[in-house]
């Protein structure tokens, strides 16, 4: 009944790609132009919030190990938090710009969760490589929204954040169960549910 883990990763990859492209468009055309239509200001925070909400089913249905369950729970919470604080800032319910720090905090927690729940070294497997790459991308990428909190008009920082999300999406799309893309199938390659 449950979709394979890789399909779930691709679905979230699509979400991150959408987020990244929205932010990239905003960085290119400028915030004023992007927000000429009021709904666009709510777009990426709403998607982030929704993705957090949709992560809860992933958490409770993929319980092959406690560490995966906890990692998915952490991602659900930080995505909801990041989306919620951005929505509240856009709406004017929160006024202190320091609430923007919720986004880098979410990336840091997400990256840490990736690295903690991956027990293998970088080159052990495709999945291990992806988890390490995703973890470090999120942690290093958190510097963009962190700096952007204090220099909110910098297009470089906003563009950098957008590219981080696109990179996360690409890495999530790279996750696949049986994937003879450029290489061959390892004898260890499996077909069951995973992280």
């Amino acid at each position: 009944m449950m979709p394979p883990a890789e399909v779930v990763h691709w679905m979230f990859g699509t979400g991150f790609l959408f987020l990244g492209l929205c932010l990239l468009a905003e960085a290119i055309v400028g915030r004023e132009v992007w927000r000429a239509r009021a709904w666009r200001a709510y777009l990426w925070p709403s998607v982030a919030f929704l993705m957090g909400l949709l992560m809860w089913p992933v958490m409770v249905f993929f319980t092959s190990s406690a560490v995966h369950m906890l990692a998915h729970g952490a991602w659900a919470q930080v995505m909801m938090l990041a989306g919620a604080t951005q929505l509240a800032l856009v709406r004017g319910k929160l006024r202190n710009e320091l609430w923007n720090l919720a986004v880098p905090a979410a990336l840091l927690v997400s990256g840490a969760a990736f690295l903690i729940h991956e027990q293998n070294p970088w080159l052990f497997s495709r999945s291990a490589f992806l988890h390490h790459a995703l973890g470090w991308t999120a942690i290093v990428g958190a510097m963009f929204p962190l700096a952007s909190t204090f220099r909110p008009r910098s297009p470089v920082l906003r563009g950098g954040f957008a590219f981080v999300l696109v990179a996360v999406a690409v890495l999530l799309f790279c996750d696949r169960n049986v994937a003879p893309i450029f290489g061959h199938l390892s004898p260890l390659a499996g077909s069951g549910p995973g992280s």
Partner: protein, 434 residues
């Protein structure tokens, strides 16, 4: 960007080698399965190769008698693990397995199956321990979180209605947010602790424990799934209500939260003990929901309305007083019915451990009800005459604190087993399958 592109290309170019660590994808017999023909071996299928030692898979009866008939072996590059078993007579069996993933991490799990009879849930596998004091505290925290959430939402919608001020709403949402976050986090903690009881592993190894038989094969796991998903949705509704300033969104959040209180009933005594029926489950839900509404309402009255909305004090107190009368009637009625079901003899109250805990709960509940009665009989007429007594806020919070103490004893009670009662067939039965 070059580094990013290089990393991405490298990820694509690497041989596809499955996932983070080995996962158990199939068991023969499966968890919770009742088989009519005794299996000759236990087979575990992993999605990656694993390393085993001769005792990696152990099969025991519910009394702990080992039933393995040889060492654990692997096949198919370590992806298939099997152990031969002796002739298994009719009964329930516990399988505990422990293998080493190729990267060196120890993976563990436990499940049960039955030969010509239904097996118990993994929480009652051989070697599993009962709820601990930590679990009592976590369940108490969960009850408190439910009280803050359900009681807060009920108070805001039924008692305050459209008279809320922005200041009052701000604190109300903070309390409700604390409630829903607490319900989510403590629900997860409770599930992990219950898994720890079943798996009997230190925390470091519990992280790599297979929780799927517990999540999918027990009432407790089902309640965990439903409540986690439900409270995630409630969190979203409460947030959207705050964001858009639309109190109407709180109604579905309130209805959903009330419904989710039944998760605790469906995974507790009322679902499995002798005499359990839909009536006992309904009574348990009514009992818990009424308690949450009452205690959470007191917190809102003492912590939100009293300090922040003096103009609403009188009206809110009088309205809540009317609501509390109904809640107390429901609470006492449902509680008396449940006590009758679980302790049919009055002497059970002092002779049985469960009864003694219930007696403490009754004393505390009587104290809280007496305190509430004092508010209704003495304070309410004073407020109606426009003479509010001093220190009423502290008194309300005091009543709420006693209510919270009642919830603590209730948490201990939920995790305890009622005394055995003779079943119609003559054998004694006791709460199980949680």
């Amino acid at each position: 960007m070059r580094a990013l592109a290089a990393a991405t290309l490298a990820a694509l170019a690497l041989p596809a080698a499955a996932f983070a660590h080995a996962n158990l994808v199939k068991r023969e017999p499966s968890f919770g399965q009742r088989v009519e023909t005794a299996p000759r071996q236990i087979v575990l299928h992993f999605d990656q190769g694993v390393i085993v030692v001769p005792q990696s898979v152990q099969v025991k009866t519910q009394r702990g008698v080992p039933m393995t008939a040889g060492p654990t072996r692997t096949a198919k590059n370590g992806k298939l693990v099997s152990v031969p078993v002796r002739r298994l007579p009719t009964g329930a069996y516990t399988v505990r397995w422990q293998v080493t993933s190729l990267e060196g991490h120890v993976l563990s799990g436990v499940y049960t199956f039955g030969v010509r009879r239904n097996p118990p849930p993994p929480t009652e596998a051989f070697g599993a321990s009962g709820p601990t004091g930590t679990e009592d505290v976590v369940r108490w925290g969960l009850f408190l979180a439910l009280a803050l959430l359900v009681g807060g939402l009920g108070f805001r919608l039924i008692v305050v209605g459209d008279r809320a001020t922005p200041q009052l709403d701000r604190r109300f949402y903070l309390v409700a947010a604390a409630g829903v976050i607490g319900a989510l986090e403590l629900g997860i903690a409770g599930f992990i602790l219950r898994a720890s009881d079943a798996l009997q592993l230190p925390f470091g190894r519990l992280l790599y424990g297979d929780l799927s038989p517990l999540a999918q094969g027990t009432r407790f796991g089902l309640a965990f799934i439903v409540m986690t998903l439900g409270f995630g949705l409630v969190a979203a509704l409460v947030f959207l209500s705050w964001l858009t300033e639309r109190a109407a969104l709180l109604w579905p959040a309130f209805a959903l939260s009330l419904g989710l209180c039944s998760g605790l009933s469906l995974s507790g005594h009322s679902a499995v003990d002798t005499g359990a029926s839909w009536r006992s489950e309904l009574a348990d839900w009514v009992h818990l929901s009424a308690a949450c509404l009452w205690i959470g309402g007191l917190v809102q009255l003492g912590l939100v309305v009293w300090p922040l909305a003096p103009e609403l004090r009188r009206e809110a107190f009088l309205r809540f007083s009317r609501l509390a009368a109904v809640l107390v009637a429901l609470l006492v009625g449902a509680g008396a019915y449940l006590a009758y079901l679980r302790l049919p003899e009055a002497s059970d109250l002092w002779e049985e451990p469960y009864g003694r805990v219930l007696a403490i709960k009754l004393v505390l509940a009587a104290l809280a009800l007496g305190w509430g009665g004092l508010h209704r009989l003495v304070v309410r007429p004073m407020l109606e005459r426009g003479e509010p007594p001093a220190g009423l806020s502290r008194s309300l919070l005091g009543e709420g604190a006693v209510g919270m103490a009642v919830l603590l004893v209730a948490a201990v009670l939920v995790n305890a087993n009622p005394p055995r009662r003779p079943a119609p067939g003559g054998s004694a039965t006791v709460g199980a399958a949680r």
